[in-house]
Symmetry: C2
Subunit: 551 residues, 2 copies
């Protein structure tokens, strides 16, 4: 436990702040309001830095990225007009297992009883709590100082154990309350006791792997969330098994790893990856969620008999289901007596050389070339954030030399720019590069002003194809157009930063070079043809258009 | 009923579109997504125009303003990442009685059963419906074609009758479904049968008014929502009773009416209005909600014995409560035999002449002078929208010659700019003037691009005091600062419109003059001192700071 200097007058808010500090939170995102002002005042005197975003939505996404990297993120807002703006970002954190703590101010307990119509109240005072109960692992209203410590512990424990969001509502008359006889702090249990893998299950898994000719691993979201990359790699190296990624958790295994073959996503992915995986006689899926997008809109053909399926809550060996944590099995497999395999030719995602070698022509820029440029441009000193849309889908076919963050399941547009703020504060040694669409940028892109305020320097690339490019191949109309913005002029509004308008390959190459040497936010507006979409998105659109009208 | 041309293949979506068209909806706000694409396709072929906003939040606020003016507004979004962004704007509509219909696409019924992990899903498929149930008057999932018509009718009836929002979720495999034997359409009942006012209650109310020396009317939100201004004025004129406004529903009675005296809001309002109202021996409150802000943070001193309290659901005469609609009593009072009163000196809010007479000096602009300028500038061809914050509170002391819209109870910042889009589409004959703070503008101000796209021409005035000016007098810290934006440069990003940076009175006068003659969006950035706040906000801050820390 790290000693804090805020022990004097140890109140409910002091305890909450100390607990999140202990768990690694050094920045908290949000916007104050009168119901949470005194808590903000407490925060401003703590070692945790307050990061004001432009809108609460931005705070939610920033805290999400922070949590994906640090293991816990926090957002702090006022009641109603603040908290209810976080429902969407919290839903996304729930869906994608991101441990974000939402702290909301609220009217005081006493004033609620006296006054039925305090501002920021929608319907019933408890509605906000009830709404968050549906999309969090645990929630609490700190309405009794005596129980406040244990309630804070309960919610935080649930968040850390389940990797899902949690919600704490603190009525403003509880912020400074000092519990007289608080309930004792419960021991903090990181993991529930696990009965371990039955030995016949381990034997069966080993036998499935050893008797196979061409095993393959698919690594997913939970490998990232539970920090399992080393174990997965140990398993792969021990038996010389190649690894495919999944869209949700693309960089769970570093994409420059020699056994890595790119993203498996049914027909959405590269055909050679699909062929390799689907012709495998032993598919070891680790931490992969069976979502529509991960499975290529259910175009994947994986024989359940050949599947070893491992996630936190369960595992399956062929058709045998075990309601036990799969991670213990993974531990044992990584140390088991496995035979050495010959994987044959391992497919590999498109890789280009240094982008500057290739991006010197005056050819009109295309979206495919943007991905090739990024694949060469990004290195270990970057962290890459992609918004859902072609920024995400176009990345299926390419590999990057750095971490990749994108909400590839819940898929809320407008995530990436505010997320880059959280990402860089969590990892100040990495420079964020954001790839976003014009539609996504219009939702939250102006949060770039917040990056500027706090001395951050993301490079934001906007794919300007004048609309919702993901939807055009499904069903098009004027409703897929967006308003006209001159994204490259955004630095004029920020009063700082560099803006670039890019029409050719040379301009892209030059802009990336200049952005790399500039220490401040950069925005690169890439002007594309309206219907220029990446090859993976063409494959996606074709498959998704079938689902659009089912009447 | 207006004949529509979309009768061929009369599907669930055709019926829904026809019904909202019948109720006056000509524009629908939102952002498409794959779960709602086929419904958007239907909309695009209907006489209802789709208005794409930058973010769903903007669509929610635009539809809210549209509904405040037209009596029904509609917003249409996709499931999850779309719908859950509307929780806050819907909560506000609930709190302030605004009839907005939320239409959300959703995964098809069939695909839900087959696939537990479709994109945009947070936790359980029904969570979104359950969340909206808490903040709407009625909600429905259209999961059975046979019942779809009657479910649509039920939700719409509730919205229109209660003036609260409603929620309709349409799984994408229901959009084109054609009911074989739909349940018959139920008769549409505008008002529930009302037993009428007991004659002794009418007698008592008449006697309270006639025996008083100095009666006063306070008109509130419901006067606007239920279109009661004429009845209130009839009552006032019949008995020569002056009228005060309330903050929530400021322009319910036209502010240039001769019997109008300005806003009553306890110590938040002008002292002379407070003195007049609180020394009255018969206070007739019509459609006023007893919210904290309406009552001057509970600084109002109104003797219940002297009160006639009339709202839709009930009325009270002194301490006698009647669980009957107060509107019937209002009807009768407006025709009753009332004696003529001598109101004495009626206080009047600050009025200035034509702004151009006074705004020619090089004195540094102050926020007080902005309000004075607006009071002279605004006329019957405008509609004025103010964001919560000083834009709203500073308006307490001044009157405007036009309608005023502001969410003065739920108080969600960032309302006014997107609301101006809905307002101008609802009333194309009126030019919106928006007054907003820098903090509010950063949330949603870029929706100005949407105004530009659809040929609208709001004039947006940003009070740039470098932070949350409403909070500074309560409790200040760096958390009340906002990122640096050059608001006057926003037209550079839009590629159209006029921007002004205003530091002096002359510059304000000139900018307003130029904006008036320019047919496009204008943004006037008014540079204020950090602590320059209006007189009413000073009064508010003093009273609210007491509540901030109650520990």
């Amino acid at each position: 436990m790290i000693a804090l200097t805020i022990k004097t007058g140890y109140s409910v808010s002091d305890y909450l702040i100390e607990r999140i500090y202990e768990e690694g939170v050094r920045h908290i995102f949000g916007i104050p309001g009168d119901y949470v002002l005194s808590f903000y005042n407490k925060l401003s005197k703590s070692p945790i830095q307050v990061i004001n975003t432009c809108d609460e939505q931005g705070a939610g996404f920033a805290a999400d990225a922070y949590a994906r990297i640090k293991g816990l993120g926090a957002v702090c807002v006022t009641y109603g007009a603040g908290g209810l703006k976080l429902v969407n970002s919290t839903a996304q954190a729930y869906a994608e297992k991101v441990p974000v703590l939402i702290i909301s101010g609220a009217p005081g307990k006493a004033e609620r009883l006296k006054n039925p119509m305090l501002h920021h109240k929608a319907h019933q005072y408890q509605d906000q709590l009830r709404i968050f109960e549906r999309i969090t692992a645990a929630s609490a209203e700190l309405n009794d100082p005596k129980r406040a410590y244990s309630e804070i512990d309960r919610v935080l424990d649930a968040v850390l154990q389940t990797k899902r969001p949690g919600y704490i509502e603190i009525p403003r008359d509880m912020v400074l309350a000092i519990p007289a006889n608080p309930e004792p702090r419960k021991p903090y249990i990181i993991e529930v006791p696990c009965p371990g893998t039955p030995s016949e299950a381990l034997d069966m898994a080993v036998s499935m792997i050893n008797s196979s000719q061409k095993p393959v691993i698919i690594a997913g979201l939970e490998v990232e969330r539970y920090d399992l990359a080393e174990k997965v790699l140990a398993l792969a190296w021990r038996s010389n098994i190649p690894i495919a990624g999944s869209l949700l958790g693309k960089s769970a295994i570093p994409e420059n790893e020699s056994l890595y073959m790119g993203i498996y996503a049914g027909v959405l992915g590269l055909e050679e990856v699909k062929d390799y995986v689907e012709s495998s006689d032993c598919i070891i899926m680790i931490g992969v969620y069976l979502t529509d997008l991960n499975l290529g809109i259910y175009t994947s053909h994986l024989d359940p008999e050949k599947l070893i399926y491992i996630v936190n809550e369960r595992f399956a060996l062929g058709e045998h289901e075990y309601p036990l944590s799969g991670f213990d099995l993974l531990d044992r497999l990584a140390k088991a007596n496995l035979s050495w395999h010959n994987p044959g030719h391992i497919p590999y995602s498109q890789k280009v050389g240094r982008f500057s070698d290739d991006f010197s022509s005056d050819k009109k820029i295309t979206v495919t070339r943007v991905f090739q440029a990024l694949s060469g441009f990004l290195d270990e000193e970057n962290i890459f954030l992609a918004d859902p849309g072609d920024a995400l889908f176009g990345s299926i076919d390419v590999s990057y030399n750095c971490s990749f963050i994108s909400p590839a399941y819940y898929a809320s547009l407008g995530f990436a720019v505010p997320a880059s703020i959280g990402a860089q504060l969590a990892r100040p040694d990495l420079r964020p590069v954001v790839l976003t669409g014009d539609g996504s940028f219009q939702m939250t892109g102006m949060e770039l002003a917040v990056a500027a305020r706090y001395g951050l320097n993301p490079i934001v690339i906007v794919l300007n194809n004048m609309g919702y490019g993901t939807e055009r191949p499904m069903l098009d109309g004027a409703f897929n157009d967006v308003a006209d913005w001159r994204y490259s002029k955004v630095p004029e509004v920020l009063g700082t930063g560099l803006g670039f308008l890019i029409k050719t390959e040379r301009e892209l190459g030059e802009a990336l070079t200049e952005a790399k040497s500039y220490d401040g936010p950069c925005i690169l507006e890439v002007l594309l043809e309206k219907n220029d979409i990446s090859v993976p998105l063409q494959r996606l659109g074709k498959n998704m258009s079938k689902s659009v009208s089912q009447g």
